[in-house]
């Protein structure tokens, strides 16, 4: 398999950067609360990939432990975020973040 370029640390970092940029673009461009939350998950995963790749480079396990913590925070974020989405949807029957422009109703 010599015709396939061997991946280096840089390949992993560039892949992670591409995924992070895709997630950012999703947050900026989409007008759907659920898709925005999904884009945040994509960004969190890109950062996780960086942690694990650098971990492999340094030969330690600390990065993997931080990935564990990132995942728990992501779970907490998804739970509260989706609860807020449900509460908002009850009030306006809409998932468009631009529908929620008033500070109180």
């Amino acid at each position: 398999m010599s015709w396939v370029p061997e991946p280096t640390l840089n390949s992993y970092l560039i892949l992670s950067a591409v995924l992070f940029a895709i997630g950012t673009a999703g947050v900026f461009l989409r007008r759907n609360l659920i898709t925005i939350l999904l884009s945040i998950e994509v960004m969190l995963n890109a950062v996780n990939l960086t942690f694990v790749a650098v971990d492999r480079y340094l030969g330690s396990v600390d990065g993997q432990i931080i990935v564990f913590f990132v995942m728990t925070v992501a779970a907490a974020e998804a739970a509260t975020g989706l609860a807020i989405v449900i509460a908002l949807f009850r009030h306006k029957e809409s998932l468009n973040p631009d529908a929620f422009t008033s500070l109180r109703w």
Partner: protein
């Protein structure tokens, strides 16, 4: 073999993530994101991190995505609403959206430029293999050096759980 698998998994992850962002139907987005997580989990195996690969599948694809899927089905909003109203146009119209596109493209270019200027590094400094006892080491460190953070995480999860219940509860009028 490692090289070929890396490029396959990387391609799957990028294409799936692009489709997650590009899809109009949130249901398809969630399912594609599960595919992207599967590819990332394969990359973690290639990086010698089977523990992270396993919790990626169990927690992300298994728990968080099911939560998303549940909410998408509960709300049953198949597509995006059109932008209506003066205030909505002010922040969600074509102009700000174009600005958002420019900003995210700028971020992509900046990241690519920064990483291109790095010197090429091998996958591992020196030629150490990932230790066979990696999961054992993780457990040991998690409950020794990171024990406080671990306990704080459990409090965070508890707070998130209570918060989610209170936020999503139907208010009695």
């Amino acid at each position: 073999m490692h090289a070929l698998l890396f490029w396959i998994f990387a391609a799957v992850a990028i294409v799936a993530s692009l489709l997650v962002v590009g899809q109009r139907n949130p249901m398809h987005s969630v399912l594609l994101l599960i595919g992207s997580f599967g590819a990332l989990s394969g990359l973690y195996v290639l990086l010698g991190a089977p523990f992270v690969a396993a919790i990626q599948i169990i927690i992300y694809a298994g728990a968080i995505m099911v939560l998303f899927l549940f909410v998408v089905m509960l709300l049953n909003a198949a597509s995006e609403d059109p932008v209506t109203g003066y205030h909505a146009r002010l922040i969600g119209g074509a102009g700000p959206r174009r600005l958002g596109a420019v900003l995210s493209l700028g971020l992509a270019i900046e990241l690519f430029w920064a990483l291109r200027n790095l010197q090429t590094a091998p996958l591992a400094s020196g030629d150490q293999q990932p230790p066979a006892t990696a999961v054992y080491d993780i457990g040991l460190r998690l409950f020794q050096n990171y024990a406080f953070a671990f306990e704080a995480t459990s409090v965070l999860i508890l707070v998130a759980m209570v918060g989610a219940i209170i936020l999503a509860r139907r208010e009695r009028a």
